[in-house]
Symmetry: C2
Subunit: 344 residues, 2 copies
């Protein structure tokens, strides 16, 4: 029996009041008197139930996905907007909303936190929200944005000590981070068609260049969207590591870096499972997200990634089980503990 | 009989005098009296012969590659350095050097031009150098840098009218452009491990978002490095195009966009040839370039991409012939004319 865990879901279908409140918050930047209070945002449990039941939960049931690790909408994090106070209020609201989803649908959703990052601000400022999310909301992981500037890439690489306060807390709580950017405000980069994939590739290469996991042997990163360009160029990355006299990638990075399966066609998933060791692959779909349509060549949703894993001729039944469940429970120990407490 | 044409080679092994002259040029920025003259750079034909025979030509012979389309070293273009005058002098020197290589080894090297781009400068300023390269040096294509800022991405997307002067000249001469960035001066992006691949993905997505080829039906772009993340995420791009109500990618982009085979392992090449129509794939290795080592899993150079095409179980003999020769002659009509004039 396999529990199908989707490790990459966002609350992309939140009630419209959320976006309206955010619009007011953004409009009030620089006008303290106009700043809306969090208490002015009214979303009822029924509002939440409705948006989840009609969307994510409906599709999960149709596809046979049992559970989703659920975080605030990635493109709405928009850390580049306003200052730390703006991000802080916004993150608190979005995280609470995902917590409420997990309370209303405990069998189906487990929360993952966004952080109140802001360009040029010390990431240590994110710790209080991170602590609240883990301790009060039961979040089992976080999303970490390597580029809070939104496409201008003004932050130091992930190997820089700049990020260490977050890493220390991740190690303390034994939680992984998905490395996930938000909306691009650089017109060169389409958000979901370029910026997301570029960020995945960029983060992997930053980690390859450095030796971060010598300082943090237990730190774990999940690179979404199938690792950006990385598996397709696995030979290039092996060769670059070799030229830099790094250990083999298996030893240098693969104890600490994992890839999700948000790759929206069979040949891509097959490539992923050809080059990346099975224990480094975690099932995910990021539905309802960037690509919501039905693939005319298959008649199924592009982002119904479970079909590609099910159909894989490369993976054994046991390997599929590891991708669907075991690996995610191992990478997210707080999820595993939660499931065990429920006798699962 | 197949002529094996590598459509992506750079003069990465130029005599050391070139880098020394460039260092002097950079040191003299802001000090007009110290600017070195182009005539102070002395590289003899023997210097050129030596660097080519010991390097590119030796490997071409070992691997069975007959001919390379040869342009100045991509990472040395460094368009972000100095102003237009600096780029202009530098491009003229580098292009002349590739022309001399093609004169000394006419059977093996055909020149492709770099442009004297400079951040914030109208691309029309590149036209005189482009004209010289085509008319005097016989260049059969150009390299176009979508981000002359070197990793800050301050230029408008490739679909913007900003770039039209270059496109008009490309159409007039019937030459394609390889979309190729240079060194990243943004510490977030490793040059060959992130910036190159990100640029490939970014350029493709810019072209997907726009309708550039309605204005320029005959314009042709070559996306290097196997198209960055694009073939691996072909389902994502098909789905994004569908959501934007664009035509199918075959119709929307594949009459005008081509991918090279600079993917340094067999599974990556196989993925490329599974999802991208064979007529859109052009043989290339970018040797001697980013990845110079020997893959311990095969005992051969990572960048000996001919081996992967030769070994492909996906491609028929005729399809391999098209990738090695026919497609490149079609995408580079001036190369085809040159070969025909030689009876090839």
């Amino acid at each position: 029996m396999t529990l199908i865990i989707d490790c990459h879901g966002h609350y992309t279908t939140a009630p419209p009041q959320l976006a309206e409140w955010r619009d007011r918050q953004i409009a009030a930047i620089g006008e303290p008197a106009a700043v809306p209070k969090p208490s002015e945002l009214a979303i009822s449990d029924d509002d939440i139930r409705e948006t989840i039941e009609a969307n994510q939960l409906r599709l999960m049931n149709e596809r046979g996905n049992d559970m989703t690790l659920f975080s605030p909408r990635a493109s709405f994090m928009a850390h580049h907007v306003g200052d730390f106070q703006v991000s802080s209020t916004w993150a608190a609201i979005c995280n609470e909303l995902c917590f409420r989803v997990s309370e209303l649908f405990p069998d189906s959703f487990v929360p993952v936190a966004m952080l109140p990052q802001s360009p040029g601000v010390d990431p240590a400022t994110c710790i209080p929200e991170l602590v609240r999310c883990v301790e009060e909301y039961g979040c089992v992981g976080i999303n970490l944005n390597p580029d809070p500037s939104g496409g201008h890439w003004t932050s130091p690489p992930l190997t820089d000590r700049h990020w260490y306060p977050i890493y220390e807390k991740m190690v303390e709580y034994d939680i992984p981070a998905m490395v996930h950017v938000s909306t691009s405000c650089n017109p060169a980069f389409h958000t979901t068609g370029a910026h997301y994939l570029n960020a995945d590739t960029t983060a992997f290469m930053q980690l390859l260049q450095g030796d971060l996991f010598e300082d943090f042997p237990g730190l774990r990163f999940l690179i979404p969207h199938g690792g950006g360009a990385v598996p397709y160029h696995w030979g290039r990355f092996r060769g670059l590591a070799q030229a830099m006299e790094k250990p083999l990638l298996e030893e240098h990075l693969l104890n600490n870096i994992f890839f999700d399966t948000c790759v929206y066609h069979q040949p891509g998933i097959d490539l992923l499972n050809t080059v990346i060791p099975v224990d480094n692959v975690l099932f995910a779909s990021e539905m309802i997200g960037a690509v919501r349509g039905i693939d005319p060549t298959t008649g199924h949703h592009y982002d119904d990634t479970k079909r590609y894993i099910d159909a894989s001729a490369i993976l054994t039944a046991d390997e599929k089980h590891r991708i669907f469940e075991t690996n995610t429970r191992r990478v997210f120990p707080r999820l595993d503990a939660l499931l065990k407490a429920r006798g699962i």
